[in-house]
């Protein structure tokens, strides 16, 4: 059957114009996304091409020799694992507990607003300032000396705001209705947190921890005055020892060692990134496992 007015549903010039404009914007946003991932690909590509040749079991598992020109980076790899682990052990519990207090217990008053402001500011402090703070506080005042403990404490202070903010945000993403349902059945705050709020926010909290791991492993400034050294022939035996670290080792091999093969610093960088990616993958796998197990 013929329609009464066949032109009624035809596109007008304005429709065509709007469609063209919208396509242009889609292209713009798409290009920006490409631009965004380009450096990531370039960095990884460069590292693999230039440093891939350096990677071997010997490189990973032996100490540097000949003034760091040859040999491996084992002490630095082990040192970074020490630093990150101790820093996480310190900052994750404190950060999560503080975030629970701020999100679940503290009221909205000038005191908590001040604390929140302080946390945001703490997150914005440059890492070199944290380094000097760590030197003054942990190395000198508390007399830990340049040690893993002092360096990890510095890293912990620096990364705690990230944990707090991430934890608080995932706690607050749990709908208020769940809390009220619990309270109305006579649950205390802690019972509510333990049985409903934490199980529902654990994946978000883990994300915060993952972020922190990557940041902690890569930081150089906070550890170079507080616990990491250019070179030591000894592996750390306790948290009171000094240690080498990957990030500092990268800096040293890239700038301080004349006549070193090009592929060594690239290899160090590749190992550092590989370590971070491995830690992140494990955490993400753990997160997915938790999510699947608990059905939320």
């Amino acid at each position: 059957m013929a329609t009464a007015n066949p032109t009624m549903f035809q596109a007008s010039d304005l429709n065509h114009h709007n469609e063209r404009v919208q396509k242009r914007y889609r292209l713009l946003f798409g290009l920006m996304t490409l631009l965004l991932i380009t450096p990531v690909l370039l960095i990884l590509g460069t590292l693999v091409v230039k440093g891939g040749g350096a990677i071997s079991w010997e490189f990973l598992l032996t100490a540097p020799t000949d003034g760091m020109r040859t040999g491996g980076l084992f002490p630095a790899l082990l040192g970074t694992i020490w630093l990150v682990t101790v820093a996480l052990l310190l900052s994750v519990p404190i950060g999560i507990f503080a975030a629970i207090y701020l999100s679940e217990y503290a009221g909205d008053n000038w005191f908590t607003r001040t604390i929140n402001l302080a946390i945001i500011n703490l997150a914005g402090v440059p890492s070199i300032v944290h380094a000097l703070f760590g030197l003054g506080a942990f190395v000198l005042f508390f007399k830990f000396g340049t040690s893993i403990l002092a360096a990890s404490l510095t890293l912990a202070v620096m990364t705690m705001p990230v944990v707090i903010v991430a934890t608080r945000e995932s706690l607050q993403a749990v709908p208020q209705a769940f809390r009220e349902a619990c309270w109305n059945m006579g649950a205390t705050r802690w019972q509510t947190i333990r049985r409903v709020v934490l199980p529902n926010s654990i994946t978000g909290i883990l994300t915060g921890v993952i972020l922190e791991v990557s940041r902690t492993a890569g930081e150089t400034a906070p550890i170079m005055f507080t616990g990491a050294v250019f070179f030591t022939p000894f592996l750390p035996q306790s948290v009171f020892d000094q240690t080498m670290a990957l990030s500092l080792h990268l800096f040293v091999t890239a700038t301080q060692v004349p006549g070193i093969a090009d592929e060594v610093p690239f290899g160090v960088a590749l190992v550092l990134i590989g370590l971070v990616l491995t830690m992140n993958s494990v955490s993400i796998a753990f997160r997915m496992w938790l999510r699947g197990k608990k059905k939320w």
Binding site: N184, M185, G186, R195, V196, P199, K295, W296
Partner: protein, 268 residues
């Protein structure tokens, strides 16, 4: 003379499950309740009707003291539940919440399994004194779900997450999870307003099932529902109780002009 004897003298048969005296309530400077004296009979279903903002929900929320959570609420007067003043300073809120269960407009099951939802409250209160359902967890779950006419539907999926149920089933579950701690009073704040007509009918049917075992106080905007699903009815206006009567009497021969006008839909 102990409290109970005094109370027995003050309240001869019929017994009142909820009894408010000169209850005044302010949200900041706004007064929401004016001298509310309401005696809700034990074991009956009593509905509360009135236009939005008349104070019916506020009254409901004063009976398990969740209004106070807002912080800027001031309350004068008393509310007795089973002859004990729940505003007495000695009263433990956790016990109030156990004895007086609340069902909300929007079903709010916890994001855990159906089974864990039913047992949640029981686990909180089982060792805390006061009467709770006896039996193994499985028995308690079955019993509670049977009481809300949900057992046959969900008996094979007790591990399923409760938030995946339909709204009607969620609301029934929210009622069921109150039962294992043997509350005396069930408060329901427009429990059917998020449900479709079929769900509404099912929940009303459930109310009749629970009648007699629990005192049910239900706030509703739906006058037909008040008429169908309650034995006594309270009409409130501007924070005051206008009329409290048997439901059939109120809807057939209201004593006050305001009640008649509201029932006939001249304002709302």
């Amino acid at each position: 003379m102990n409290n109970q004897q005094t109370a027995a003298l003050m309240h001869p048969i019929p017994r009142y499950a909820i009894d408010s005296r000169k209850l005044n309530l302010w949200y900041g400077t706004f007064q929401a309740l004016y001298d509310v004296d309401l005696s809700i009979r034990e074991g009956l279903i009593t509905s509360m009707i009135g236009p939005s903002g008349c104070g019916k929900s506020t009254f409901l929320r004063s009976v398990n003291r969740i209004n106070e959570r807002l912080g800027y609420v001031r309350i004068e007067g008393s509310v007795h539940v089973m002859n004990e003043n729940i505003y007495d300073p000695q009263v433990e809120l956790v016990q109030v919440r156990k004895q007086v269960g609340m069902v909300f407009q929007r079903p709010n099951p916890l994001p855990i399994s159906i089974r864990d939802n039913i047992l949640f409250s029981h686990r909180l209160h089982a060792k805390g004194g006061g009467e709770v359902a006896q039996g193994t967890p499985d028995e308690i779950v079955e019993q509670s779900l049977r009481q809300v006419l949900l057992w046959d539907k969900v008996k094979d999926q007790l591990k399923r997450k409760a938030t995946e149920l339909s709204l009607e089933e969620q609301q029934k579950l929210c009622i069921a999870r109150l039962l294992p701690v043997k509350p005396k009073v069930l408060l329901m704040d427009e429990p059917c307003s998020a449900l479709d007509p079929k769900g509404t009918e099912a929940v009303e049917e459930l109310l009749w099932e629970l009648r007699g075992q629990y005192t049910i106080l239900i706030v509703t905007h739906n006058m037909a529902q008040a008429r169908r699903a309650s034995e006594e009815c309270v009409f409130m206006l501007m924070g005051k109780v206008v009329e409290h009567a048997l439901t059939e009497e109120m809807f057939v021969t209201p004593k006050h002009r305001e009640t008649a006008d509201y029932i006939e839909g001249r304002y709302g």
